[in-house]
Amino acid sequence: MQDPLNPFQPDGIGPGGLLSNGGGGAVGATRHASFTHPDPPGPPPPYDSVVMGDANAAAGGSGGADGGGGTRDFEIVVADPVKQGEGVSAFVSYKVRSRTNLAQYARPSNEVIRRFRDFAWLHDRLAEEKRGVIVPPLPEKNAVQKFTMGTDFIEERRRALQVFVNRVASHPELKATRALQRFLESNEDEFALEVALTTAAAGGAAKKRLDGAVGWFKGLGGAATSLVAGKSSSDAAEDPEYVKVRDYLTQLESHLGEAARQAGRLVAKETELTEALGEFGQSIEKLGRLEEGNVAEAFQQLASKAQGMSESRKGQVAQLAARFEAPIKEAVRFVRAATNVCNDRGVALAAMQAAKHDLDTKKVRYAKLRGTPGSASDKLLEAERDVTEAEGRVSKARASYEELVSTLTEELNRFQKERAADTNALLRDLALVQASLAADGAKGWSALLNELQAIQGNAPAAS
């Protein structure tokens, strides 16, 4: 994993230049294919290639076929976290350096200063604009850790933010969005203005995910909650296959959450063992000072090896945290993001049904009025207009729902393919980091064994 593009590594923009991409929108299917596992004989793409966009292999194939039509669009690095302010209002700012070959950007490379809040703004804007898209998840907001702002926490978050923004930039639907461009390009004043404008437009509700139809639906109040809360009523109209998918995602989230928790424990225990080893080395060293001859030397060697290994383990355990724990946590958040989009779909469906119901009511009223002799013509006219309006709302809600469904279906496809590759990569990285931990152990301890033999050889025990 020496690829400089790995966003989980703190390196700057890699010297490799922009990589070739699978091509434009028309080749969406092939793009997706490039995220999948290759057939068993070939190795799967490395984790970074998945995060960053396309793999070298795919570039060689489809990129060449396109006549070099597509190159990788972005390289983004989040770097230089600086703590700003003190106390409760303290926050960390990051430099977001990007290089792009998209024509709509004024300059090919940009550097802006952003804070977590700005990343959150980007996330929410995308979720709002591109409904049905599974927007890559942000790292969790941890109030307690934020308060202490330890360097570990800041570094962990910096890496997670880098992964987030790169995932956005490699997403076919999200990479060309205005929000991303503003985020990457605008200087602080422009960006602040943009944020203010969009926030105002969204009525101050940054989290607002629902378009007009749903907003209107929300206004229905009581009827709406019953529809949203129980899946039964909306599920009746829901595709049964999709219901299974949604249930699967919910289950997956809980199981994956447990796995992520255990991954965290694993890293914690590795850290503890590393510390214990160091302490053991220290106390053995002291004990060795009271001994003499071979034993003193043997203890000295044991102490130095134990302490040395404790030191070298530290870096590797950090690697384990970055390459296994962080990705598996991100995977959980990704599944959660997918479930959120599924909820949106449920809401959209409910909205459509409510609109239909409303239309039916209006229709009945209109029919009643028409059937009643002597109805005032203006009332009749009003009822007719109501029906027409309701019909409009229904078709709008249906369009919105159907668009969401089609986007979501494509997204779930993409989601599953990425997840397969990501999971493979993170498990492989677990194995690789652990293997080098073990290799280090083998190296250190057999060096000790050799030293011990040398000690014995130099001064054979008096017998």
Binding site: H37, K269, L427, A431
Partner: protein, 606 residues
């Protein structure tokens, strides 16, 4: 099995440590495998009555099993149906021959062998036997089975005529106590968990200046649990204790150990055994004497026999108070040259104890963390397995819905592979933990040893205090006598009472001089013992430490290499680049040869 390391790390066919231990004992050719095996085959309870009868036929006091091989033959004849007895007989002959040959050089060893062996036959089902064979006669001890042989094998092994095994713990009905059997202790000799009469205190009282090995901790709470794991732990601890006692040059040949190992039936009911207990000083007697001393009826002067015994053991309260006073005044001021050397040794021992406290704790922590790490590996494996299960059961829905069947299959596959590897690793780490714990045991052992060392060294200081106290007594009396004589010279003709007083003083002075000589001799004896014990203790400790570091390193190497293989295999299965795998493999030196054909390589293939 040439390398013991493959043993515990064998991945498949994982054998429990206890079974390993038993096998090691049974397989040991010289320890009378037949005996041990037969003892296992015949049920202990079924065996007990016969052995009891045998023991009654040969009362130890009358027959004197030590050195009388015929007494051993009696019960032997009574139980001819046991094949292993034939074997033991042969062994005994062999041992006798060996003992005869070695008698000139080490008579005690030969005597010990004879006694121990006749004991074996009395035991009937006891198993192996305490052989005074050549040092190699102990077979090839598995590192977790026996104390590591000191490298200075020549002298040390010859000085260890006894080899004690504590095995076959089984619960006695009702009592819930530990049945402890040594290779020459019958099944009748049960309830040795508390080792009556063998408190370190008493051992050190009788053997002043010696560093008596500490008895295993008695844990009341755990003692009630009596789980198999606990029994095994206790058994191993007792065995180590007995081995240390037996290996001790003096205690190993003591009457106490002989009686302990030989007395059939309940030790507590043995008259000989209780006769050995040092006479405890009764407080009542001491108090009565004290009041007599105060009014001058009883001699205030310590007699020579008492002077050689520690003050704490004597019935003499006045003496105890005087010595305590000397101790309070800062002990003996002027110390002989060699004494200061021994005091320095005590300081070192105290420092060592401090270091051992820290080291023992650190070692414990390493083991504990390793243990937890193994557990977490298992937990993570299980969690991943559940993820895979969920994917498998329901992922088809998403796969069918989105057309990602292949990805779904790969996901499940990857997760299952990782899960299986993690669970496997968890088991390996657990075994490594067990081995590591055992290999670091000497650190805990020597921490336990330190109080005995300090006690041994302190008893010398006490003896010195006794000596100094007597000296000051003598000086006081000499002065009193001189004063008396001075006064007498002034008063011409003297008076009778004063003459009587002078006479008394002279007697006391004479007695004190004798006592001082005795105390001096006692002190010098203890100092000499201290010196030799320090030397022995250091030698044995260093030998064990050396073995410990080596075993520890070897285990860690083997464990790391084994873990490395599993991880590399998993990484390969998950599609890691071969070059990357090779790079990691390269960074670890392989003990089993460059191509991985070594012990771990073969273990991997099997």
């Amino acid at each position: 099995m040439s390398d013991p390391l493959t043993f515990g790390l064998e991945d498949d066919g994982l054998v429990d440590l206890t079974t390993e231990l038993e096998r090691a004992i049974i397989d040991d050719p010289l320890l009378g495998g037949g005996g041990a095996a037969a003892a296992r085959a015949t049920h202990p309870e079924a065996h007990a009555p016969a052995a009891a009868a045998a023991a009654h036929h040969a009362p130890p006091a009358a027959a004197g099993p030590l050195g009388d091989p015929l007494s051993g033959l009696g019960p032997l004849g009574a139980q001819p149906q046991h094949q292993q007895l034939q074997q033991q007989l042969q062994q005994r002959e062999a041992a006798a021959a060996g003992g005869g040959a070695g008698a000139a050089s080490d008579p005690l060893a030969a005597g010990g062998a004879g006694g121990a062996l006749s004991r074996t036959t009395t035991g009937g089902g006891g198993g192996g036997g305490a052989l005074s064979g050549p040092p190699s006669g102990f077979g090839t001890p598995q590192p977790w089975d026996a104390l590591p042989e000191p490298p200075a094998s020549g002298a040390a092994a010859a000085a260890a005529p006894l080899r004690v095994e504590v095995k076959d713990p089984h619960k006695v009905d009702g009592g819930g106590l530990l049945g402890m059997t040594g290779s020459h202790v019958t099944y009748l000799v049960v309830t040795r968990a508390s080792l009556p009469g063998w408190s370190s205190q008493e051992v050190s009282a009788r053997y002043r200046g010696y560093f008596a090995p500490p008895r295993p901790e008695k844990n009341a709470v755990e003692g009630q649990r009596m789980t198999d794991a606990f029994l095994e732990e206790r058994r191993a601890a007792l065995q180590r204790y007995m081995q240390r006692l037996a290996a001790h040059p003096v205690i190993g040949r003591s009457e106490e150990l002989r009686l302990f190992l030989e007395t059939p039936g309940d030790l507590a009911s043995s008259i000989q055994w209780s006769g050995l207990a040092p006479p405890a000083a009764s407080v009542l007697e001491g108090t009565a004497k004290f009041s007599m001393q105060l009014i001058g009826r009883e001699s205030k002067v310590v007699d020579p026999v008492a002077a050689a015994a520690p003050a704490a053991r004597s019935k003499d309260l006045m003496r105890a108070m005087k010595e305590a006073a000397v101790g309070l005044r800062g002990g003996v001021q002027e110390v002989p040259g060699e004494e200061s050397e021994l005091r320095r040794a005590k300081e070192v021992a105290e420092e060592m104890r401090e270091c051992l406290v820290a080291t023992s704790r650190a070692a414990e922590r390493v083991v504990d963390r390793l243990d937890r790490l193994g557990a977490v590996c298992g937990d993570l494996g299980l969690a991943l397995f559940k993820v895979a299960k969920a994917e498998e059961a329901q992922g088809g829905a998403l796969a069918g819905y989105t057309g990602t069947l292949r990805q779904s299959g790969l996901l499940v596959n990857d997760e299952k592979r990782a899960a299986a590897a993690l669970v496997r690793l968890s088991k390996m780490v657990a075994r490594v933990t067990g081995r590591t714990a055992q290999e670091l045991e000497p650190l805990h052992d020597y921490l336990g040893f330190m109080p005995a060392v300090l006690r041994g060294l302190t008893s010398r200081e006490h003896a010195l205090v006794t000596h100094a106290t007597l000296e000051s007594d003598l000086a006081a009396r000499n002065k009193a006598l001189a004063d008396l004589q001075l006064a007498g010279a002034k008063v011409f003709g003297g008076d009778k009472a004063k003459a009587k007083r002078a006479e008394d003083l002279r007697t006391e002075i004479a007695q004190l001089e004798l006592s001082i000589g005795s105390a001096r001799a006692e002190y010098e004896k203890i100092a000499e013992i201290n010196r030799s014990e320090l030397e022995r203790f250091g030698r044995e400790r260093r030998a064990e430490y050396t073995a410990m570091v080596e075993n520890f390193a070897a285990t860690q190497v083997a464990a790391s290499e084994r873990l490395l293989e599993v991880w590399l295999q998993l990484a390969g299965e998950l599609g890691a680049a071969p070059a990357e795998l090779a790079a990691i493999r390269q960074s670890a030196p392989r003990s089993g040869g460059p191509d991985g054909s070594g012990l771990l390589g073969t273990a991997l293939q099997s």
